[in-house]
């Protein structure tokens, strides 16, 4: 846990922007004002974010943006009624108006006998996810990296598109029962798509410390795969052994997030309804939620300020535990795990820091062990077709390759898949070491590459 810095100078036109809001001061002000209204219980979240993103396409920067935002989100609770109001105005008059608005909203609804009193002071584990190097990144720094990416693409007769972004944020949560938690972090993302004719490939990484991202290595990887993606064969759809790179695994299994929520089971909309404790996946599948994992990011507390616990969700293929907010924990007679969303909400909670146990096989070993199969770079536009069997549909994108006799032999036109995640996690033959993966459909997670048999492709597209 890091303390919120004291307020500093106003936003400047040159050099990196710095935090300039006293979050604890705003928390104290809201709690003091709410007390003057006679409010029984008040909770306040304050967030300050400074972010910038450079976007490039056709080997040139075409968008380049920066923002500096603050939000104050407060909830009052009185006589078993609660409501939330969020504003980005931090002067006392505006905060007073926001408190009055919550009281007006809250008083307009029936009492909720399930509403719990706010939690008191908590203890938190320290996490350090703030990197000065990321906070100090300038538009010129980003432009230089983009220029190098575009120069490489131009040299190889290719076309580069992508983003290079950086952000720093600080947040605080406090309530009238003495709870106070603060957190700050940084976040950098580099993503690149390289096109060569109608072929394309892609690479992306994110990290708290921008120094851990080798942007040119990502560009080279995408460039080489885009070159190999030319002259794609058209194969018949059907069931194939696939080797899913970590981004493909992430974007698919990310759709299991909400199913691990106790509230989803109480609502009977989870695929784990009537399946907890059963051998649902292969014995090589173990999944936990662990915000403290060294490859994870995020605050060590939830929307009510409850410390996040490490939770073993799937043990050797058996869904074993769920995550709980305070409310769902009370309903299930369990202890909250620190995964609740900001109240009020109807979804309860979700694990936000999934970590797969993974395996030891390298990507090359997986390819070498495959008689005939497909190597999948990433998946795209994934949507749920069947919520209980967890059948997902989507497309392969940016690099699908045929493997024969242990070698990548050709590019393949993209397929549509209709695949149950439950079935897929029963069919995992090999896994690589779990890595921090980033895609476009799910939160970042720590997942391995997977070799999966009988993956179902239903149709092919035109490229």
């Amino acid at each position: 846990m890091t303390a919120a810095p004291k307020s500093s100078s106003a936003a400047v036109a040159r050099g990196p922007a710095t935090f300039d809001r006293d979050l604890r001061g705003i928390v104290d002000t809201v709690l003091r004002l709410a007390k003057s209204f006679g409010v029984a219980e008040t909770e306040v979240h304050v967030d300050e974010t400074i972010s910038a993103l450079t976007r490039f396409a056709n080997n040139a920067i075409h968008q380049n943006v920066a923002e500096h935002t603050v939000s104050v989100s407060l909830r009052t609770q009185i006589e078993q009624r609660t409501a939330r109001v969020t504003t980005n105005r931090t002067d006392e008059d505006s905060l007073r108006a926001a408190i009055e608005a919550t009281l007006s909203l809250a008083s307009s609804q029936p009492k909720n006998s399930n509403l719990l009193a706010m939690p008191g002071m908590q203890k938190y584990r320290t996490v350090n996810r703030y990197a000065k190097q990321t906070a100090a990144l300038t538009p010129e720094d980003r432009a230089r990296a983009v220029r190098r990416a575009c120069d490489l693409a131009v040299k190889r007769g290719q076309n580069a598109a992508g983003i290079f972004s950086c952000a720093q944020s600080q947040s605080a949560i406090g309530n009238s029962r003495g709870l106070l938690a603060t957190y700050r972090d940084t976040h950098a993302v580099f993503s690149v798509t390289i096109q060569e004719g109608t072929a394309a490939s892609w690479a992306k990484e994110n990290a708290a410390n921008v120094g851990q991202i080798d942007t040119q290595q990502l560009v080279r990887r995408a460039s080489e795969k885009a070159h190999r993606a030319k002259d794609a064969l058209e194969l018949s759809p059907g069931r194939y052994t696939v080797i899913l790179e970590p981004a493909a695994v992430l974007d698919l299994v990310g759709f299991l997030f909400y199913d691990f929520a106790a509230t989803a089971l109480q609502d009977q909309r989870s695929c784990f309804n009537d399946r907890l404790g059963k051998q649902l996946f292969g014995k090589n599948i173990t999944i936990e939620d662990n915000v403290y994992h060294p490859l994870q990011l995020g605050a060590p507390y939830d929307g009510e300020g409850i410390p996040r616990q490490r939770v073993l969700l799937v043990n050797r293929g058996v869904p074993t535990n769920l995550v709980y907010s305070r409310s769902s924990a009370k309903a299930a007679k369990k202890r909250p795990t620190g995964h609740g969303f900001v109240l009020p909400n109807e979804y309860g909670e979700a694990p936000m820091n999934l970590v797969f146990s993974g395996g030891k096989a390298s990507l090359q070993e997986m390819i070498a062990s495959t008689g005939r199969g497909l190597l999948v770079t990433r998946l795209w536009y994934i949507r749920e077709v069947d919520p209980y069997e967890k059948i997902m549909t989507g497309m392969t994108r940016d690099g699908l390759f045929l493997i024969e006799k242990g070698q990548v032999v050709s590019a393949v036109r993209n397929f549509r898949f209709n695949q149950s995640i439950l079935e897929m996690l029963r069919n995992v033959e090999l896994m690589g070491p779990a890595v921090r993966a980033t895609g476009e459909e799910a939160f970042e997670m720590v997942v391995p590459a997977m070799k999966v048999r009988d993956f179902h492709f239903s149709e092919a597209t035109k490229f």
Binding site: T69, T87, N345, E459
Partner: protein, 486 residues
């Protein structure tokens, strides 16, 4: 607000920006939900701030701030100029903008009942009553309702002299009944899935939906789906209900015609488009009876893509997209219009908020009504499947191959609606699908549907778009592939 906007423009000009535009925006939103007879979400939010886009050294820069003081705004404008100069380090050519006139105007979307001024108790009581009507049906295991209201004020100012204030009021409302039995979860929504219907209207939209009448109907259908026959796997005739067709238009016409996507500017995220520039006026996109427009004007209807001016200060327009089946037009902005031989933007630059850069967006991309009544369309169909209310949607990153599934379907046999079908789905290739359209229902069946959750851009922006559609028929469509095993 114009004082701050002018200060930003002056600061940018002094720092040698050749063009700049500013949006000061104040956004207010209220969300109400219920679940299983209790209030779920009850939240309200507001956000106010300023974003400035500048052209300097031939390249773009954008910065935004919520510090609406003279110092905060001046610093923000200066930051935008320095970002533009950094952009110029990796430019290929200078940005050229199509000419546009300066406008001084003020516009408000028409509404009869301001949802923010009506008693919240009334709104919650209606949702809780609808929730109770659904829960009355045995077998329903989860009931959800929602209302969403937005009020957006924007003050646009540009260095060519425009000063435009617009106020929009947006309302959305919907119901969902879910039933879990055995090994199936089935769901029905009204009037549409994923939040219901959304429009540029006031509370009169909610009152027009007659929630209490429809709540038990969808609840009974959700339960009945468990016993329904599985949708067959075949190639055949498909009739789509209006809301599903609206999403089909969104994905397979609306997105491919975005000129930034066509030009590769979304290649890293949202994807590109099969509609390369050589296809304009040459591609047979659809059958002769298909006419599609992108129309942001109020006379098209109170859609989520309706406005008086876009966020680049260009007046709302109606653009032919598909005329008698031929591909006729793209969605463009001042920067890209000249690339398709136009001397003016089609007025489609839109931003989610003050802290986001305007990008090319759908307005109301609508299929013009045809001539059929729905009854005649069914009577004319000997063997087909009718599908209604979206359950899932997916399309490749060049917008060729799509697959949709819907919440419910019915067999059509001998011109009559037959048995209910569960888990319906269909798939195809965009131009093959639209060329198989042989019947479109008339204006009596036409609704301007709202899609409130269209994501695009980096950083991601969510935008509302409108899609007018009436039930329509398609031939030789692949049906049921989502549940195929081989």
């Amino acid at each position: 607000m114009y004082d701050l906007a002018s200060l930003a423009l002056d600061t940018a000009r002094i720092r040698r920006a050749s063009y700049s535009d500013v949006r000061v925006m104040h956004l207010r939103q209220r969300d109400l939900t219920t679940k299983n007879g209790r209030v779920g979400t009850l939240v309200q939010s507001e956000s106010i701030g300023l974003g400035i886009r500048v052209l300097a050294d031939g390249a773009w820069g954008f910065a935004s701030t919520d510090r609406l003081t003279r110092e905060g705004v001046a610093a923000c404008a200066a930051q935008a100029v320095s970002i533009a100069k950094a952009s110029a380090r990796a430019k290929r050519e200078d940005v050229v903008m199509a000419p546009e006139n300066a406008y001084v105007d003020s516009w408000q979307s028409p509404f009869r009942k301001d949802p923010f001024e009506l008693p919240l108790e009334t709104q919650l009581a209606l949702l809780l009553s609808a929730d109770a009507e659904m829960r009355r049906v045995k077998g329903v295991t989860l009931t959800e309702t929602d209302m969403q209201f937005r009020k957006i004020d924007s003050w646009f100012a540009s260095s060519i002299g425009s000063r435009i204030h617009q106020r929009k009021v947006i309302t959305g409302c919907g119901l969902v009944a879910t039933s879990f039995q055995g090994d199936e979860i089935q769901k029905r929504s009204y009037p549409n899935s994923f939040g219901g219907q959304h429009a540029l209207q006031g509370y009169e939209l909610v009152e027009s939906l007659d929630l209490l009448k429809h709540a038990p109907v969808i609840a009974e259908e959700a339960v009945a789906l468990h016993a329904a026959a599985q949708c067959p796997q075949k190639s055949g005739t498909l009739i789509l209900g209006g809301s599903q067709l609206g999403l089909q238009i969104h994905e397979s016409i609306g997105h491919p015609i975005e000129l930034d996507r066509v030009l590769g500017q979304e290649a890293n995220f949202a994807g590109t488009s099969f509609l390369t520039l050589d296809q304009l006026n040459n591609l047979r996109y659809a059958s002769d009876i298909v006419n599609v427009v992108a129309d942001a004007r109020l006379e098209h209807g109170p859609g989520l893509g309706t406005f008086a001016y876009d966020d680049e200060g260009v007046p709302a327009q109606c653009t032919d997209i598909i005329k008698s089946g031929q591909f006729r037009g793209y969605l463009s902005n001042r920067e890209t219009a000249h690339l398709i031989g136009l001397n003016r933007s089609s007025g489609t630059m839109r931003t989610e908020s003050w802290n986001r850069l305007p990008i090319i967006r759908m307005t109301n991309v609508s299929l013009q009504p045809g001539t059929w009544t729905f009854e005649d369309l069914l009577a004319d169909t000997d063997d087909g499947v009718l599908m209604e209310t979206n359950r899932s949607w997916s399309i490749d990153d060049r917008r060729y191959q799509f697959q949709f599934s819907t919440e419910i379907g019915w067999e059509i046999k001998g011109g009559r609606r037959g048995q209910m079908l569960k888990n319906p789905s269909y798939s195809g290739i965009t131009t093959e699908f639209w060329n198989s359209c042989d019947a479109i229902c008339n204006r009596e069946h036409w609704t301007l549907w709202g899609t409130p959750n269209c994501g695009k851009g980096q950083p991601m922006q969510t935008m509302g778009t409108g899609h007018g559609a009436s039930p329509s028929r398609f031939h030789n469509v692949r049906i049921g592939a989502a549940f195929s095993k081989q």
